[in-house]
């Protein structure tokens, strides 16, 4: 099945500072099921990139295998995309980033792709603090193979066929925190007002940014008894804070009540404003974040928002001290030591 999207654009369509209309950030028409949460996330990615004035071709979008991993085709058509193999997107993103530190790396994965087959690569990308945004479109089930439970399905959650999941679900947010991730957030595909600023903040973060987005599967996991259905998530969601993202160059136009917000300045000078909902809440406190997460779990709440951020984060390139220029831009003159040096080396082997 091939969908062709009309290329006609209204000439009056507003453009952002880099001269692109919002439609320039779109992809081909989605082939996912109508109402799929993933499509809403794609929409939020489009919105965030447009509002952040990102040049689409400066983004590299990568994914693994599964419904979620198809989505890079549905946004940012002028970006290069890499739909790799199941669970292996983190290593491909690592290599791509090693080759060119100047691009924006956007990885999209699902709960099967991340929490099962890709768990090994996922945790190591976190450990290395690879500078990328890693979005998990988390629906607790395997959509493309028709609805099997995934490793993030909660124990006791009921599938469409009526079977009850007997195994403990993996909480990617808690695990990422434990592993030392430097930007950890959770959101809900149906909550654009939260998700868009989170994506913007994550893209501004210098290091590995995880956003675990609950994204109900309308076809296989939106039934009563499922803990990843639209209804269940809406009923149990608890946002940590209302979020405002302010790019470096802009004046703060959102006004918050004195003392009610925390502003976190990110690597590129932009600021995330969090309107406190919980007393003493500071997203820079990792231990507090872990405690709060445990509390929410005990209370049966789904905690969303920016759970933790380390604004001082150093990415992989800073750790391994690689050249400031993209390595893929270096030429023979930079890289090849030449014949005369080889003569010296030969002498060392005599």
């Amino acid at each position: 099945m091939t969908y062709i999207k009309p290329k006609f654009r209204h000439p009056e369509m507003p453009k952002n500072r880099v001269g692109y209309a919002k439609s320039d950030y779109e992809g081909v028409i989605s082939t996912l099921c109508a109402g799929c949460g993933h499509d809403s996330i794609s929409g939020s990615i489009v919105q965030a990139c447009y509002e952040m004035d990102i040049e689409p071709h400066r983004v590299a979008k990568l994914s693994g295998i599964g419904c979620s991993s198809k989505t890079p085709n549905y946004f940012l058509n002028n970006s290069h995309g890499f739909n790799s193999v199941h669970g292996r997107m983190p290593s491909v993103a690592t290599g791509a980033n090693m080759a060119n530190r100047d691009l924006i790396y956007l990885g999209v994965s699902g709960d099967g792709d991340t929490a099962s087959i890709g768990m090994g690569q996922f945790v190591h990308a976190i450990r290395r603090n690879l500078n990328m945004l890693y979005i998990v479109m988390n629906n607790g089930c395997y959509g493309l193979t028709k609805g099997q439970d995934s490793a993030t399905a909660d124990a006791g959650s009921v599938s469409k066929s009526g079977s009850v999941n007997p195994f403990e679900g993996i909480d990617l947010v808690g695990m990422a925190l434990e592993l030392g991730a430097t930007f950890v957030a959770r959101s809900f595909s149906g909550d654009k007002t939260q998700l868009v600023p989170l994506i913007k903040a994550a893209l501004s973060h210098n290091g590995f940014a995880l956003i675990d987005v609950l994204s109900p599967c309308v076809t296989f996991n939106n039934n009563p008894g499922s803990t990843k259905s639209y209804d269940y998530v809406r009923d149990h969601i608890e946002a940590l804070a209302q979020i405002g993202y302010v790019p470096e160059k802009e004046e703060i136009t959102v006004s918050y009540e004195e003392g009610s917000t925390v502003g976190v300045e990110l690597h590129d000078g932009s600021v995330v404003h969090l309107q406190k909902l919980a007393d003493g809440w500071d997203p820079r406190d990792r231990q507090a974040a872990m405690r709060r997460l445990q509390q929410a779990k005990a209370d049966g709440e789904i905690l969303t928002g920016l759970v933790y951020v380390n604004p001082e984060s150093k990415d992989l390139h800073e750790v391994i001290k690689s050249d400031l220029r993209p390595l893929n831009s270096l030429k023979e003159e930079d890289l090849c030591p030449g014949a005369s040096t080889l003569e010296i080396l030969n002498e060392e082997f005599r």
Partner: protein, 607 residues
């Protein structure tokens, strides 16, 4: 009693305990002979262990320049009581057994047909040194000195090597020289020296160097401009990436900022190692990884993706003994079929098969050019013998006028020109008719040239398709590319200007050393002349089929059980399989000329 006599034609085997510093002492012994201008080769026969198990180091000295392993030990240096019984048994009749006579040898260890030379290594150490580690290390130098006296190695040469070895810790030079001289002194005072078995200065090594294949591959990757390496440690490939890191750090670090023009990441496993290579290559960097058979097994998935999505990748497979975990510290050429057809579906991969460290260096540089030219994985097939053992080899050469072949990559200007002509960029369009399409790198152009790389079936524009005919067209084009590869990969080497015999022989990689020696033996001692071809690459150049066509019988010599190279020939070429006679060795030790000669003579007696 008979005493073996020979000049510059001998095998010395050291029996040591691993983890005792013996390797560097043994290396000094071999390098001394090299610096006396005599061809020499060394093989480290080591356990998969860090400390305490038997390890051997075998040095072959050959005036004729034969660099393969030779059967039979002329002189054994016994420093390991654990393996003494088997070591004594390994000495040729009339040969020499050097042992520590600080304590008397039990009568069970006495053979009437070999010559025992006792050196009180422990006794001398106990007398001279207080510290246990010193006693250990200087014991090694004592036997090096004793050997120098027995075999007539020039002492100034040994001293020069000690000075080079401890260049960075000059305080250690004098004590090591003294320990070495203690060994010399003991031999001179107690035995008639030198022995009839000895060395004599020659001028036979020219400007050769002594280097292992892993180091040469690592240096090759530096010269080829590799900037990204993802890797996972595995014997026997580990030292390859370590060599790359060492030389890249040394030659590509900015002295002021400390920043490096290289990014090396130790991956969580071999899957991720190759994933990093694909990501980096897709993004326009030259990237590689190195592994051994078990790693290639894990990399199958990504190799299939790279083949089908047409992403350059360079991989070195330093083969070891298989199957499964197998013999991690022994050599084989048993990954050929695995590498050639790695991954599910119709896949095949370009293999380059070097046979010397010099060729390792050259083929690494070629591998990056070929991978980018062909947009496909190129696997450099070495083995443990080539990778980890020192080899006498021609010096490494680089032509400063050489330019990297970055392959068919459209720039922003190319894309603008294309659209000015009213043409659309198609990632998988065969524009030139050679099966190789043009690619673009991420961020090349704001609005043109982007595409979606995928392992799913796709059309010429990289769009997903379930049209089976379209998919078959892609598979056919990949075959066309395969044909293109046949003419741009390294050509086979022929050892005669014109065929002289109705019998031919094919070999490759480290088998070459023994095969060439065997051909000399057959000619000189059996009067059998055989035409020889050394294969260097897969797919096969047309001259490979022509060579086989031109002979009635063709021996295929290789170091695996299943005659895998023979299978490749049968699978890829229109030839009569009956012509191909397998000559094999798969005991994990490098094949010898004698083994080849025995098998060929045996077969020829029946045909």
């Amino acid at each position: 009693m008979q005493q073996l006599t020979a000049i510059n034609d001998l095998v010395v085997r050291f029996a040591n305990v691993n983890g005792t510093g013996s390797a560097s002492a043994n290396n000094m012994f071999a390098m001394s002979i090299f610096r006396m201008g005599i061809p020499v080769t060394a093989k480290n026969i080591f356990p998969s262990n860090i400390q305490g198990l038997p390890t051997w180091y075998e040095v072959r000295v050959s005036e004729k320049g034969y660099l393969g392993r030779r059967e039979g030990v002329d002189l054994l240096v016994c420093v390991n009581p654990q393996s003494m019984k088997q070591d004594i048994a390994s000495v040729k009749s009339g040969g020499y057994f050097i042992y520590d006579n600080t304590k008397n040898l039990h009568k069970d260890f006495i053979r009437e047909d070999i010559n025992y030379i006792g050196i009180p290594m422990i006794g001398i150490c106990m007398r001279l040194y207080q510290d246990a580690r010193q006693r250990q290390l200087f014991k090694n130098m004592i036997y090096v000195g004793a050997l120098a006296a027995l075999l007539d190695i020039e002492l100034d040469v040994v001293k020069g090597i000690i000075a080079d070895e401890f260049k960075k810790k000059p305080k250690l030079i004098e004590p090591n020289v003294q320990a070495m001289m203690e060994g010399v002194k003991y031999v001179q005072e107690n035995y008639d020296s030198p022995l009839g078995l000895r060395v004599e200065r020659r001028d036979l090594v020219g400007d050769s160097i002594v280097i292992d294949g892993n180091t040469a591959c690592g240096l090759g990757a530096v010269y080829a401009g590799a900037t990204v390496a993802g890797w996972y440690p595995i014997t026997p490939s580990t030292s390859l990436v370590e060599a790359f890191a060492k030389y890249a750090n040394r030659l590509r670090t900015d002295p002021e900022t400390g920043l490096k023009k290289v990014a090396i990441v130790q991956a969580e496993d071999e899957l991720a190692a190759l994933g990093m290579v694909l990501g980096a290559s897709w993004n326009g960097a030259r990237a590689f990884t190195a592994t051994s058979g078990p790693g290639v097994s894990l990399m199958n998935e990504f190799l299939g993706l790279a083949y089908f999505a047409e992403i350059p990748a360079v991989l070195v497979d330093v083969q070891r003994g298989g199957p499964s975990t197998g013999m991690p510290t022994r050599t084989q050429q048993s990954d050929l079929l695995l590498a050639a057809y790695a991954s599910h579906g119709d896949t095949k991969h370009v293999l380059l098969i070097p046979s010397t460290p010099t060729e390792c260096f050259n083929f690494m540089a070629d591998a990056f050019d070929l991978a980018e030219r062909l947009q496909t994985p190129v696997i450099v097939m070495t083995d443990l013998d080539l990778g980890m053992n020192d080899h006498l080899t021609a010096p490494l050469k680089w032509d400063d006028s050489r330019r990297y072949d970055r392959g068919k990559v459209y720039t922003a200007q190319d894309l603008d020109a294309l659209s000015a002509m009213g043409k659309q960029f198609g990632r998988y369009l065969d524009v030139d008719g050679d099966g190789i399409p043009y690619r673009t790198l991420p961020a090349t152009h704001p609005t043109k040239g982007s595409f979606f790389t995928r392992g799913t079936s796709h059309d010429e524009y990289a769009r997903y398709t379930e049209d089976g005919v379209k998919n078959a067209e892609v598979l056919d084009r990949l075959l066309k590319k395969w044909d293109t590869a046949k003419d741009i990969t390294p050509k086979p080497e022929f050892y005669q200007t014109a065929n002289q015999s109705n019998i031919g022989v094919v070999f490759f990689g480290t088998t070459t050393y023994a095969a060439l020696e065997a051909l000399d033996l057959l000619k000189q001692e059996e009067d059998i002349v055989i035409d020889a071809m050394r294969a260097t690459a897969f797919p096969f150049h047309e001259s490979v089929e022509q060579f086989i066509e031109a002979h009635d019988h063709v021996f295929v010599i290789e170091q695996n059980r299943d005659a895998q190279f023979r299978t490749l020939l049968i699978n890829e070429l229109e030839i009569n399989p009956k012509k191909l006679i397998k000559i094999l060795n798969y005991d994990g030790m490098p094949i010898t000329a004698e083994a080849i000669r025995r098998q060929i003579v045996g077969v020829l007696a029946t045909v």
